[in-house]
């Protein structure tokens, strides 16, 4: 096979490791609650000889998941830890079975990227019976930290929504009509990113009205289709908030197709993929709030500290950066 890129020199082929921006903890847990192994009821062990099970929620088919899994695998390799993996293919029941399978296969420690925040009871009970420490990444589990699981590492989705709102207010000048491209219905991420965005708008820019809220199911094609309908029925729309980059890029496609010019409609998205950051450089996108997927180092660091008996924070919220016109060009390499 010969794809377009085989002879074109494209930036896409740059590997994930180049300019890798590891995660930075935003709130180095001074006052935050912490957890030690004794509280959790597990035994100390040496991470080097342990088996770590990693349950991924979605197929490694979008940049975020690819980077996330790759980062976990790379870190495990670097530390020489035995890693078991499973992928739930976006089916929640499968993820529950997956984690149970990982436990049955002898995982001593678990890193879970949950598909959903609720419904983890069977897994948590089993893990507790075997005193297996669990670290959840990128999404939280609705359960008691340091009791049902050790800690959560990830972004604050509500905060991401708020920051997206800030960017939008800045880009539009705090006035006008907005559309939201929602993520998949019933998904915590969707709920939180919407909540934060709308809260912030209400607080800071009551003149920015959300007049359109439709799901683009986190997919580019859906984002494009919905935006096409939007610009037919509301030609005067001022801004579009897309809850992930893919839908934002779909929106860009729709705007281009409708003959709009870059900057006519302000677009703010969340994630920080290369394509979206390039969109800023091209002038179509006005801001990308980062959601950093490179959980490997931090997750293993946490497990290491914890299993050695050290204190780890229950909520390790990472500091997501943001891409704007000012830093997009220079930080393009940091995007995934």
């Amino acid at each position: 096979a010969k794809s377009e890129d085989d002879d074109a020199d494209s930036g896409d082929s740059t590997s994930a490791s180049e300019g890798d921006a590891g995660q930075v903890v935003s709130s180095p847990g001074a006052g935050a609650e912490t957890c030690v192994i004794g509280d959790y009821g597990a035994e100390k062990l040496d991470l080097k000889t342990a088996t770590v099970g990693f349950s991924q929620s979605e197929k490694e088919a979008n940049p975020f998941r690819i980077a996330e899994t790759a980062s976990i695998k790379a870190e495990a390799g670097k530390r020489g830890v035995k890693l078991l993996t499973a992928n739930a293919q976006s089916q929640f029941s499968k993820q529950i079975s997956d984690v149970q399978d990982l436990i049955a296969k002898g995982a001593d420690l678990l890193v879970i990227a949950p598909l959903n925040s609720d419904g983890w009871e069977p897994v948590l009970r089993q893990a507790k019976a075997k005193h297996i420490p669990i670290v959840t990444i990128d999404r939280k589990i609705n359960a008691a930290a340091c009791k049902d699981y050790v800690s959560f590492i990830g972004s604050d989705f509500v905060e991401q929504g708020r920051r997206a709102a800030d960017r939008m207010i800045e880009a539009t000048g705090g006035k006008g009509e907005l559309a939201i491209l929602l993520g998949a219905a019933g998904n915590n991420v969707t709920t939180d990113r919407t909540k934060g965005f709308q809260e912030q708008l209400k607080k800071k820019a009551p003149d920015l009205k959300v007049v359109f809220k439709q799901t683009g199911e986190f997919a580019r094609e859906k984002g494009q289709q919905v935006t096409e309908q939007l610009i037919q029925s509301k030609p005067g729309i001022d801004g579009i908030y897309a809850e992930n980059d893919e839908m934002g890029l779909g929106a860009v496609g729709a705007l281009k197709g409708a003959g709009k010019k870059a900057g006519d409609v302000k677009i703010v998205t969340i994630d920080g993929t290369k394509n979206a950051v390039r969109g800023i450089v091209d002038g179509w996108i006005d801001g990308v709030i980062e959601s950093n997927p490179r959980f490997g180092p931090l997750a293993f660091q946490t497990l290491d500290t914890f299993t050695k008996g050290g204190k780890v924070a229950q909520d390790i919220v990472i500091k997501d950066s943001a891409y704007t016109k000012d830093n997009a060009k220079s930080d393009l390499g940091k995007a995934y």
């Binding site: 088919a61 992928n87 296969k105 002898g106 959903n116 609720d118 983890w120 009871e121 069977p122 998904n187």
Partner: protein
């Protein structure tokens, strides 16, 4: 051996029950394989997995598999009735999710509400499906497809567009229906086994069961023979809705929450399980136990993929698709062999 295309109208010879008295040995052998092909495959798969992975045949692992199969199995139970009448029910996945959400919401008012509410709502949707199919003579595929969308819509409506998850009190009796253990075996497993026994008795030994087979075997003839065709059809779709709702409720008890993102693709899983179990999609032939075996087989395959562990998510799909193809080809082939012999 000469190969011949079997006709869809009058499928391959099937022995409806019991041992074919006068059949030759090879005929009997392939009749057995036809009926129990899935069971044979299951046994082989389990043996192979047992030999290959020492973490397969552990108490933990088998427990896990049993409990997590239970919910799909209950859905497949209802689906078996529907498919034997020659129909299909695509709404079960949505009803499963809806049942879970309603049960979780209802659990705040006690176990009775937690069970009865999903049964009532899902049963009602199944009943409406049945009416549209049996009385208005609409195609089952399309009616239940619409129900699948509609039930998902209702789910979104009662959960504030999916943003609200209702939780079940961990210490309630309802939760023990999902979490409890009897003799070391999870409650959902017992419930499932009980339902399957009841289902098998109803299908084989009750008059209603005879009607189910008759309607699937030849609807017009069944009507002329005085079978209550419309009532039978309505009943099986209601039953399927009830099963899906109950499975959802049990699942909610197990997960102690009404997870909103469940059930997509479940209808296809259930249909695959039923078909792998030897039930003919064209109706008139099939059995309950086969569906249970089909569910277990799907579960074992998934477990084996996880046991291998390193399979890329994309390859996993290729493997399961390929596996499904192999099973149905083998089954069709066995069925035909018996006929040509």
């Amino acid at each position: 051996m000469t190969i011949d295309t079997p006709s869809p109208v009058r499928p391959v010879d099937k022995v409806t029950e019991g041992e074919p008295l006068g059949a030759s040995r090879s005929e009997r052998l392939s009749a057995f394989a036809q009926q129990h092909g899935a069971l044979v495959t299951l046994v082989l798969a389990v043996l192979a997995a047992w030999l290959s992975f020492d973490t397969f045949m552990t108490v933990d692992n088998t427990q896990n598999m049993a409990v997590s199969s239970a919910f799909l199995a209950v859905v497949a139970l209802g689906m078996t009735f529907v498919i034997i009448t020659g129909g299909i029910d695509l709404s079960v996945g949505s009803l499963f999710a809806l049942g879970g959400v309603l049960a979780a919401w209802g659990s705040q008012y006690g176990t009775a509400v937690a069970l009865l509410l999903p049964l009532a709502v899902c049963g009602l949707i199944g009943f409406v499906n049945g009416l549209l199919i049996a009385r208005s003579r609409l195609a089952p595929f399309i009616v239940t497809l619409a129900a699948m969308l509609g039930a998902r819509g209702i789910l979104l409506a009662v959960t504030d567009e999916g943003s609200k998850t209702y939780l079940v009190d961990k210490d309630s009796f309802f939760a023990t229906l999902g979490q409890g253990k009897v003799l070391g075996i999870g409650a959902p497993v017992w419930i499932t086994v009980g339902l399957f026994v009841a289902g098998a008795v109803v299908l084989r030994r009750s008059r209603f069961g005879q009607y189910v087979y008759a309607v699937g075997g030849n609807e017009d003839a069944a009507a002329l023979m005085g079978a209550p065709v419309a009532r039978t059809k309505t009943a099986v779709y209601t039953l399927s809705g009830l099963c899906a709702g109950l499975a959802g409720a049990l699942n909610a008890a197990w997960l102690v929450s009404g997870v909103t993102i469940l059930g997509s693709g479940m209808e296809l899983e259930a249909i695959s399980a039923v078909v792998i179990g030897g039930t003919l999609l064209s109706g008139g032939f099939g059995f309950i136990s086969g569906s249970l075996v089909g569910v277990l087989l799907l579960k074992v395959i998934q477990n084996v993929i996880n046991q291998i562990g390193s399979l890329d998510s994309a390859y996993q799909q290729v493997v399961s698709g390929g596996f499904l193809a192999v099973v149905v080809i083998a089954q069709t082939w066995l069925g035909r062999r018996r006929r040509v012999l």
